[in-house]
Each structure stands twice: as C-alpha cells, then as structure tokens.
C-alpha cells in the first residue's frame, strides 16, 4: 500500500521540539508503523511549528501547526497523499509566501534535508566547495572569500577575507579554526537553526578555513544552553570522520583537519572572541586586551581564525559558486545575505534570509505580520541585548551595516525582537544594565562597576519625585546616566561594557516619556514603597 510507505518530515529542531514535535512523531509512528519518518531541520517558519511535510510527486506538502491530537484526523484525511482537505493543510512548502519570498543561500538546505545524512548533504550540493578548495592554493581560497565581500555575521561585521589573510600570513606550525557558536544574544537563533538543520555546512566551512590558512585543528565553542545542537553536531562529526571528510585524509587528499565541539558553561561574555579563547583554554572567560589580535596570537598563543557559525557556513557556497556570485546579493558594502530572525512579540516569528537592503518595516509587517498580542507594535530591539531600541519612525531604515550605524544602531547578528505597547522602555534600559552586572567578566571597571551604578541611576530617574528630589535633580540624574554611558562606551575593554549603553541611550532618546516617574510600570505609578 503506497500510503503506508509515505515519507513524512518532522523537524528535530529545538523550536519544533519545544512545541511537541517528538510527541507528534511518536503518535504518527505508532498509528502508522510503516511510515518513513525523516527528522529534518526546521524551515524556520516557527509560528507554524510543529510543521510536518509529506513527500508527493509534486513536491513536499506542509501541515501545521500539528499537535499530537491532530494525528488521528490527519491520517483519516488525505494527508498522506498531500491532500488539501485537512484544516492544517498549508500547501506546497516551497510556495508558502514567507518562504517563497526569501533568498535562501546559506540556509538553502536547512529544513530540507536530514541533518545527519551525508547522502542528503551531497545530493543537495554539499562538499562541492570543499572539493574545489582541495584543488586550490591557500591564497586562492582566501582570495575567493575576499571577493565575496563576506563580513563577520556574529555582529562585528569585520571582513572575513582580511581576517583569514592575517592568519594565513602569520608564520606558525600550529594554527586553529575556532567557531564561535556561543549565540547568547536574545532574539537570535540562526546559528542554532543552522547547526541543528545543516551541521555539515558548518563543518565543511571550517575545513575550508583550515585549508585556507594552514590549520589542522578546529573547535566549535557551543553554548551549553543548546543541548539539541550539541547532540546533532556530535552525530555529524562522527559521520564526517567515518566518511574521511574530517581526519587525516580529507576526501583522499592526504590533507588533515580535526574538529571537536566544546561546551561553554553559561557565560554570555564567552561570546566575545578573546573571552571565548580563554574559556577554550580552560580558564575563566576574562576578556583579553587587543592587540594582539587573535588572528596573530589566538588559541594557546597561536594564530587563530575566530568566526561566527553563519560566517563559516557561508563559505562552502562561496567556494562552490564563486565569490562573485555571493557578492551579487546585497547593497553598498553589505554583500550577500543575512538570516534575519523575527522574535519576541511577533505574529509570524521565524528565520528570514534576505539580501541586505530590505527595510525593517518589510520584515516586521510583510513577514512578521505585526505583533502576536494583536496590540500596536511600539519598539523593536535589533542586534541582541547590546542593540538599540528603535521607534516606528526609524523602521524604514534599510537593513545594511552602514545605514544602521548612521542611526546609532547595528544590524548585529540580525536578531529582531518586537515589543507591543505594553513595554516600558525604562525597564528595558534598566534590564540592559542589570544584565551587564550579571554577565560582565569583571576585568575592566567601566563595565563591572559602571553597570551597577547604571541600575542605580535609572532607578533614581524613574522613582517618584520624593526620592529623586526636584525636577532639576532628575535632570541631573539623566545627565549623570549619559555621562556614565559615555564612560562605558569609551573606557570598556570589549563590546559588553562598550555597547551596553546603546539600548540604554536609545531608550532614553526615543522613549523619554517612559523614564518619567508616573509612566506605567514605573515604581511611583504602582505606588511602591521606597522606604
């Protein structure tokens, strides 16, 4: 019976699992034991998760969001033939507008393939870049990455090719490739999704980086908060070793590259590259002063590439299709695509990979569909906890590195967190400072002490007038906050202390009314006792 051997795709991505994908899979297998269930990554249409797909001659047909109790009615309908009679029918996956309107380059395979199947990976264009790289001289690989215009996707946007050139030119017998997979920014999940949905792409990118600079050892520094990604990466690495993709004889070339996953331990600061290196060495994650750059004195004192997951995962395609092809996407000095992540209070949250240049409004409205709560959207924070809060007037800004810098914000890792009109921006500003007190490594004073003083000053500004004295006194406190932020920006060793003021000052600039003692949510308004 053809229906019994149907192939159904049920994601094993964290978000899908967090909404019950495992139970759906178990229920389906239980009711139809002969069904072939493939545990793929997620397509990134997270508001439809668990979204399951059935393979049909016309292509994959999607249903979602599916709960375990829906399985019975799905099987009773024409689901296994990809029919449209069930209310959860979404049509051909590739034609869902949210997906069809994207430019999936780095995420082309994510959600399509079984993440740990090397056959799937090869069948969908995997390893072509590596095969090309194996035939090239190191300099030619670096040149290809330079041509692509790729800039670091972790947030700092440093040109990847130039970093690689520095490591290539650094004379040493031992060099390292380190992948920064400590994706700690709230509102970001692109790294996780890629590692869970297409781990070989990251592995291939790291091997190519190794060939490019003469490094034979790589580490993926993964945050402990990602147990699913950890399991999938380890499975994929074991398979890649078995298949001679990793190890002493990469695809029969005689060249060597070994790779290990190392777990972080719940320290946000370890996403900062020098702190990450300290942690990998087995130390406290204290930030190092730069220079020397990690490219010259990195892991265990050796020249080291430290790149974000998406930067490294962009490399196989750049090698396979050429740097020219990649740089045709994008605008100005922001070349290629960026996987934007729609998060927070948003109706259609998920991953949207687009060339640079789209407006924020397009993302929030056309893709995001407004807030999840249905209330008006009031603010968005872009680029993680160290990113600016932006009001509606600025949502027309095109999403590219330079345009965002011009408005005092940053695209960062592409994470976008939406808030509805119940948000109080002085509380958000206070949280930014509080977060810095919790996560500062403590090495430099502006960050360690400045953040504590920041919380106190914001409390004085937003508390009632008896506490902060006259209006004049309040003005003085605001001035003090601005000066404090200035000190943190210019006096901190790294981006933690240096960028914590960005959400604070942007909140103060764009939403000053929220800092008044009588603003909803502030202590005076709640009648809290300050005695």
């Amino acid at each position: 019976m053809s229906t019994n051997t149907a192939t159904v795709y049920i994601p094993r991505d964290t978000t899908a699992l967090s909404l019950g994908a495992d139970k759906v899979a178990a229920q389906l297998q239980n009711q139809q034991p002969n069904i072939n269930i493939v545990r793929n990554g997620s397509r990134g249409l997270f508001w439809l998760e668990p979204m399951i797909e059935v393979a049909t001659p016309k292509g994959r047909v999607a249903y979602g969001p599916v709960q375990p109790e829906d399985v019975e009615s799905l099987l009773a309908s024409d689901f296994l033939q990809g029919g449209s009679s069930h209310p959860l029918y979404l049509g051909l996956t590739e034609q869902i507008p949210y997906l069809a309107q994207q430019q999936r380059v780095t995420f082309a395979r994510v959600g399509v393939t079984d993440p740990v199947s090397l056959n799937d990976y090869r069948a969908h264009g995997g390893l072509v870049g590596l095969e090309k790289a194996l035939a090239l001289q190191a300099q030619a690989i670096v040149d290809e990455v330079k041509t692509s215009g790729l800039r670091g996707r972790g947030g700092a946007a440093f040109p990847t090719g130039i970093k690689w050139q520095t490591v290539l030119d650094a004379p040493s017998d031992k060099k390292y490739i380190v992948c920064n997979a400590d994706e700690g920014d709230s509102g970001t999940f692109a790294d996780r999704m890629l590692m869970e949905g297409d781990p070989y792409c990251l592995i291939e990118g790291m091997i190519i980086a190794g060939l490019a600079v003469g490094a034979d050892q790589g580490y993926i520094y993964l945050r402990e908060e990602y147990p699913v990604a950890h399991a999938i990466l380890n499975e994929a690495i074991a398979c890649a070793e078995q298949a001679n993709i990793l190890g002493d004889n990469i695809l029969g070339s005689g060249k060597r590259f070994n790779l290990q996953v190392r777990l972080g331990a719940g320290a946000y600061i370890c996403g900062e590259e020098t702190s990450l290196l300290e942690s990998l060495e087995g130390k406290r994650g204290m930030v190092r002063a730069k220079p020397p750059l990690p490219a010259i004195v990195g892991l265990f004192g050796q020249p080291t590439i430290v790149n974000n997951v998406i930067s490294l995962a962009s490399v196989p395609d750049i090698l396979a299709k050429g740097g020219e092809h990649y740089q045709e996407f994008g605008t100005g000095r922001s070349r290629g695509t960026l996987p934007f992540q729609l998060a927070g209070n948003i109706k259609q949250g998920g991953l949207v990979e687009l060339a640079f240049g789209a407006s924020l409004k397009t993302l929030l409205q056309d893709f995001g569909g407004g807030t999840r709560s249905g209330k008006p959207m009031r603010a968005v924070q872009i680029g993680g906890p160290l990113g600016a809060y932006l009001p509606e007037e600025l949502w027309d800004t095109p999403l590219d590195y330079e345009a965002f810098m011009a408005i005092g914000a940053g695209v960062g890792h592409g994470g976008i967190v939406a808030f509805d009109d119940s948000v109080n921006l002085s509380q958000q500003a206070r949280f930014s400072m509080e977060f810095c007190t919790i996560e500062s490594c403590g090495k430099c004073t502006p960050c360690r002490i400045g953040s504590t003083r920041g919380v106190e000053v914001i409390d004085r500004i937003t508390n009632d007038e008896q506490r902060s004295g006259s209006l004049e006194e309040r003005e003085k406190q605001i001035e003090l906050l601005e000066e404090l932020c200035d000190t943190m920006v210019h006096g901190s060793l790294c981006a933690m202390g240096g960028m914590t003021p960005i959400p604070v000052t942007s909140a103060l600039k764009h939403f000053p009314q929220d800092f008044l003692p009588n603003a909803a949510g502030n202590k005076a308004a709640q009648g809290a006792d300050h005695a």
């Binding site: 964290t14 967090s18 998760e49 709230s186 972080g264 331990a265 992540q341 998060a343 949250g349 509805d420």
Partner: protein
Amino acid sequence: MTTTADSSTLAATLNSIIAEHQGLEGPLLPILHATQKALGYIPSEAVPVIAQQLQLTKAEVHGVISFYHFFRSHPAGNNTIQICRAESCQSMGSRELEANIKQRLKTDYHQTTADGEITLEPVYCLGNCACSPAIRVNDDIHGRVTMDKFEHILDELLTVAVELK
C-alpha cells in the same frame, strides 16, 4: 543525579573522568562538565584532585568553577528548571511568568524546592525566541509557556520521577 559521593567512589569517578579527558587541549572545562554530569555538582573535594592532576593551583580550578553560571558546587534538586529572563521572552510576558512560577514552586532562583525535586535557575536565552516565553526543564526546551502549560509540564515531570523510584 545528586549522589553524595563518599571519598573512595569520588576518587574513582574523578580519576576515570580525568584520565578520559587529560589528552585534550584545554581539558579543564570538559572535566568539569563530565564531573557535574556524573555527580550532579562539583564537590569541593574534587577541586584539589583536579588541580593536582592538571598541574594547576586549587585557586585556579576554584576560580573557573565560580566564574561560570552553569557549574554548581552544591547538589541540585532532582530536576532543574531554567526560566529565560532575556528580552525576547520579556516581550511575551516572562516577567509575570517568572513571578508566577516562583510563587507556584515556593522557591526563588538558585534555590531548590522543599521536597528536593526542582532547582530553579534563570537563563539568558535558550534560542527559542520566535516562540517566547521559553523555559528549559532538564534538557527539554518548551516554548510559548503559560502557567497552564507549566502545570502540565510539572505534572508530567513529577509523575515520571515517582515511577522511576
């Protein structure tokens, strides 16, 4: 998981963990992870043993353990629940959720419920930001958590725990 290790089993466990990881570059974090996985926490008696075998000072090992939020020096409950406190979850009501969960469990962050079942911890992002608010129960992440859903999760968790005994 929260075995109170007597000194000989502790030594045996530690020795095998250290032997397994000693060949790695930068072995300290992998050793601490493995120790916490085996024992549920990193007992203070483990510090001098690890220090000696890695040729570090006790202060260095202690310094690393105390730097990272994830490592614990005292036993935890049978289960650990982490509530995401980061911005995306805040935008979907996590401040209220965390207050309600604390009240429901009658415990605060970094503490364990009176019955020893649940240790409550804050976490800053679980990478599930499109389906906020999120919590993590041991190694399972849950999205779009409401108090109703939380009760359900709790129910399942504690029922399973009883069956295991």
